[in-house]
Structure formats: structure tokens, C-alpha cells
């Protein structure tokens, strides 16, 4: 059976203040109801005034996705009663959105895929509810924060594709600095429409799944809903049009609203806001300030740095990571080695917001390895110690981190190793040559990787094969 999915993605815009008033939009961790004013509390006699920055950020995404910006768009009131909505209506763009069309590229099963966007519109976020037994608690700090809603065409063909799309969209949003895209903090939330059809037959009824808070949740919820619909259809039953919520902890969808309760939102034009006119001047300015999109960046990397494929995809996923990689590559002058270091050693040690080492320092280290000043093992050890808080400069200057250079120290090390492991030495001379690998490993361990392994290998071999060790 074919599955067809369309998504509505709600993105919090990275503005300092809310969409229609001057309250701070940075509500995370703020005491409840400490970031509100008569406008976002919906007091009578107040007037909304649109945030210019929110418009610019929304336009930025519209342009980056190749959407067509409408020269004039309109605001409407979507009315419903719920305690998270103090005015009794949400201001949104229902009749005439900010922009229409555009596409998002994402990695699909068979190479790059493109999903068409239907429209992008501005709207305000609702407050937050906390359910506490006999009461529901309401925090209106989030009420009125600027959202950009991205509505896709219903053209996704699998839950996996939906997940890949959400991840790619998030990457674009973060690179463009349109939104933090922080799904854990609710800065990016998804609703989905799902319907199934037997091959060649018209689609069945669609159901809506609301409030998925991670790309993984999108995939899981859609897979669960597709399985539920498939089961119904295979028993010859019908899928009823309805709205479901997603419980991520239980891994289940639950019925929120059946079709008999289909809502009337009583949309009507918002009389307090004039049409949003986008002049050529504003559009040109936004276009001029448009940061490089991840797509453009990938193309540049392929062209100038010869970094492509999965490596490039992993590096581009977070803008901080992409910036970091580019700086390491610039300093060391070896982009592919920079990529390899960032992807293996650095990502493993990259906790929370902070990279384990400044990119300039890692660049110097990678260059030193490439020039044979350190073994890769020593460099990894240095990186680990620097990640644990040591200063790289001091480590480089300290005696115990200096690489063993020249034949004398290496010969000394080899002799000590043979004395410490007489059995392995005897094994080698008895013809079990694999013992040499063990001896090299022991020697490297003893000096914490400061020796050059191929050189050490040669010196050990020479010693083992010298006569006076034969006795």
C-alpha cells in the first residue's frame, strides 16, 4: 500500500521580542507569566504591532527555499476557546500567506529528493499548559512568540523520508539563523497528515497527527499511524477522518478528536493589522543579507575542499560544526584530514555547546601530524587531555609529550621493550613473526604513542635480528 504524508512545521523565529509586542521571546527558564503584557494577554483596547525582524527572518527562509514572496499578505483571526490562547483567537495568515511554493532538498533512499512547499505563513504561538491533577496550569510567556508555519505538499512517501525532510529543514533553518531549531525546547514542532491507498487506487481518508517534537518522533508516529491504517484497510474497514496526538513515551497515537467534532475556527480578517506589504527594497535587503545555505555550502566544499558524501552531510548538520570544520581546514590546509579529525575525534569529545579544542589549535595539531611531528596516537592523546581542560600549548611544551625523534631514543625504547617482554622476543626469533606487532604495540603504549610506529617497527626488527640477542 502507498503512503502519502504532508507536514506542517511550526518554527519559532529567532527574534528578541514577540511577534506583536515587545515582551521578550526568550522565555526558556523564565518564571511563569513573567514575560507578558496587555497585548499578549489579550486585554481589550490593545493593538498588535508586527515585528519587522520576524518578517525579515521569514522572508529569508522563503527566499532560500525558492518560494514566491507575495507582495501583499493578510492576517486573520482563528477563533477557538482554549486556556493557552488568552485572546480567544490566534492571529495567523489564513487567506493570503507570506509566500507560496519553494522546495526543500533532503537525502532520500535513492539520492537527493525534493519536497515541494505549499506555503509559508506567519502566526503567533500559544501559551503552555501544565496538567496538574484537578487544575490545568497556564503559563502565557510563550503566547505571542513569532512562528513561521511551513506547509508542505502531501508528497512524502514514507516515515523515513519525513524524518529526513525534517532534519534537512532544521539544518537550513539553523544555517540561515532563522530559528534555533531546538526541538527539545519546542522551537520546531510538526503536525502531519497521513493517508494510505492500495497501489493504483484513490487515497483513503486522511488522519492528522499533532505535536511531534523530534525528527525521530515524526518517523515513529507516522510509522505507527501507517500501521494502524494498514491494519484497518486490510480488514476491509474504513479509516475515519480524525485528529490524533502522539505519545512519544508510549510510542502510540491517541484519538483527540473525531470527525463529528470537526472544528469551525470562524476565521475572519484581523481588523487591527494592515496588509503586510513587501516592497522591492525590503526584499532586496533580505536577499543581500542571505547567509550561505547548507546546499550552497556543500557545493562549495565539494568544489574547493574535496569533502563530499556522508562526511560532508555529517559536518553540515549543525552550523557550529560546519564552521568549526572550515576553520580547522583553513588553519591546517588539509581539508580532508581536517574532516577526518572533526568527524572522529572531535565529535566524540564535543559535549553540549563547547568543542573540546579551539578550531585553530586543532588545525595546528592536524598540520603537525601531517608533517610527521607527532604520531596520530600522540595527537589523539593531546586532544583528549586538552578536552579535559589542559592547555594545548603547555602540553606541547612538556617533556613527556615531545615526540621521540632520532635513532638513539628509539633504540633505547626498543631495548627496554625486549627486556620487558622476553617471551615475545623469543617467539619472534622462533619464527612467530606476529610477535613483532605485539612488541610495537607495547612500546607505543609505554611512551603513550609518542614514537613513530613504522620507525619503531624497523628498529625493533633490527634488534631482534642482531646476533647478540640470539643467545
Amino acid at each position: 500500500m502507498d503512503i502519502v504524508i504532508g507536514l506542517e512545521v511550526h518554527v519559532q523565529l529567532a527574534t528578541r521580542s514577540k511577534l506583536f509586542c515587545g515582551c521578550s521571546a526568550d522565555y526558556f527558564g523564565a518564571p511563569p507569566n513573567s514575560l507578558t503584557c496587555p497585548v499578549c494577554l489579550g486585554y481589550p483596547g490593545t493593538l498588535p504591532l508586527l515585528n519587522r525582524r520576524a518578517v525579515e527572518l521569514a522572508l529569508r527562509l522563503a527566499l532560500a527555499l525558492g518560494a514566491q514572496v507575495q507582495t501583499s499578505s493578510l492576517f486573520d483571526r482563528k477563533s477557538y476557546f482554549y486556556p493557552d490562547l488568552p485572546k480567544g483567537y490566534q492571529i495567523t495568515q489564513y487567506r493570503s500567506p507570506l509566500a507560496v511554493g519553494g522546495t526543500v532538498s533532503f537525502p532520500g533512499e535513492a539520492g537527493e529528493e525534493h519536497l515541494r512547499i505549499r506555503e509559508l505563513h506567519l502566526e503567533e504561538d500559544a501559551g503552555k499548559l501544565v496538567h496538574a491533577g484537578d487544575r490545568t496550569l497556564v503559563d502565557l510567556n510563550r503566547a505571542g512568540v513569532g512562528l513561521l508555519e511551513i506547509v508542505t505538499e502531501p508528497e512524502l512517501r514514507s516515515p523515513e523520508a519525513a524524518r529526513a525532510f525534517v532534519r534537512s529543514l532544521r539544518t537550513v533553518l539553523r544555517h540561515l539563523r532563522v530559528s534555533s531549531g531546538d526541538m527539545e525546547k519546542g522551537a520546531l514542532r510538526c503536525d502531519a497528515n497521513v493517508s494510505l491507498a492500495r497501489a493504483g487506487e484513490p487515497l483513503g481518508s486522511k488522519t492528522e497527527i499533532k505535536n511531534m517534537n523530534s525528527a525521530r518522533a515524526v518517523e515513529r508516529a507516522l510509522a505507527a499511524e501507517a500501521a494502524r491504517q494498514r491494519e484497518l484497510l486490510s480488514r476491509g474497514e474504513r479509516v475515519e477522518r480524525a485528529t490524533y496526538g502522539w505519545d512519544d513515551a508510549l510510542g502510540k497515537v491517541f484519538l483527540q478528536r473525531g470527525k463529528e467534532d470537526a472544528e469551525s475556527y470562524r476565521y475572519f480578517p484581523e481588523p487591527d493589522l494592515p496588509p503586510l506589504d513587501i516592497g522591492p527594497e525590503l526584499l532586496a535587503r533580505v536577499r543581500g543579507e542571505l547567509p550561505e545555505t547548507p546546499q550552497e555550502r556543500l557545493e562549495r566544499w565539494a568544489r574547493e575542499l574535496a569533502v563530499t558524501g556522508t562526511d560532508a552531510q555529517t559536518l553540515i548538520a549543525e552550523p557550529e560544526r560546519a564552521d568549526y570544520f572550515e576553520e580547522v581546514a583553513r588553519v591546517c590546509g588539509r581539508p580532508r584530514q581536517a574532516a577526518s579529525w572533526v568527524l572522529s575525534e572531535v565529535l566524540r569529545l564535543w559535549r553540549a555547546k563547547e568543542p573540546p579544542l579551539a578550531p585553530g589549535e586543532l588545525g595546528l595539531l592536524v598540520r603537525a601530524v601531517a608533517q610527521g611531528e607527532f604520531s596520530r596516537t600522540t595527537a589523539k592523546e593531546l586532544l583528549r587531555q586538552a578536552a579535559a581542560g589542559a592547555s594545548l600549548q603547555e602540553l606541547l611544551n612538556s617533556e613527556q609529550m615531545r615526540p621521540l625523534k632520532g635513532s638513539e631514543p628509539l633504540r633505547e625504547l626498543a631495548q627496554e621493550t625486549l627486556l620487558a617482554h622476553p617471551q615475545a622476543a623469543a617467539d619472534y626469533r622462533a619464527g612467530r613473526t606476529q610477535a613483532l606487532g605485539f612488541l610495537v604495540g607495547q612500546a607505543m603504549k609505554a611512551v603513550r604513542g609518542r614514537a613513530d610506529a613504522p620507525q619503531l617497527h624497523r628498529v625493533l626488527k633490527e634488534l631482534l635480528e642482531e646476533d647478540h640477542w640470539g643467545g
Binding site: 507569566n33 513573567s34 507578558t36 477557538y80 490545568t136 496550569l137 480578517p269
Partner: protein, 101 residues
């Protein structure tokens, strides 16, 4: 037609408390307004461009500057019930217009 049942639903959701006399007066008033709207809706306005906003004049956009908010106490001053800095309302679990509140 607006009937008493619908009126009671609206009261509950708008957080209004009316006695029977007030309710009957309000139902009659609202019904008069709605009938007037029904008369207006009979007009053929197909060719008339909508004039929803007051006008395009004035400052349409504001800069993204953070202004002082109300204090938590001020925000909650008219709350029917407060718990730990939150507005406390009868429990809601379902969707908007849920009968449970």
C-alpha cells in the same frame, strides 16, 4: 438560531457567569444582531472589494526591541485562581471546545 443551550456553552467557555434573566436578555440581543447580519449577507457583494483593515497608513512594523513586561503579580492580578505563578483553570486534556471545562 442562537438557543439557550449554545448560550450556556459560550458562557462557560468565555468564563462568564450569568443569571437566567441576564441570559435571556443576552440571547435576545445577540439573536437581533445575528438577524441583522443575515440581512446584510443577502446583499450581493461579489463585485465589491473587501475593506477589512482601517488603512495602510501609519507604522505597520515595529523594531525587534524588547520592552519591559508586566510583573508576574500584575499578569496574574485578574486570574480566577493562581498556583505557583500560574493561572489555574479547570482541567483540560482534550482539544479546544472540549466539554470537560
Amino acid at each position: 438560531m442562537l438557543d439557550e443551550r449554545e448560550m450556556k456553552r459560550l458562557e462557560r467557555m468565555a468564563g462568564l457567569r450569568l443569571d437566567q434573566e441576564e441570559r435571556e436578555t443576552l440571547v435576545a440581543d445577540l439573536e437581533r444582531m445575528l438577524s441583522y447580519c443575515r440581512i446584510l449577507q443577502e446583499l450581493d457583494s461579489e463585485t465589491v472589494p473587501p475593506m477589512t483593515p482601517v488603512g495602510r497608513a501609519g507604522r505597520a512594523l515595529r523594531e525587534d526591541d524588547v520592552l519591559p513586561s508586566l510583573s508576574q503579580e500584575q499578569s496574574l492580578a485578574h486570574a480566577p485562581e493562581v498556583r505557583g505563578g500560574y493561572f489555574a483553570v479547570p482541567p483540560v486534556f482534550g482539544e479546544p471546545d472540549d466539554e470537560s471545562w
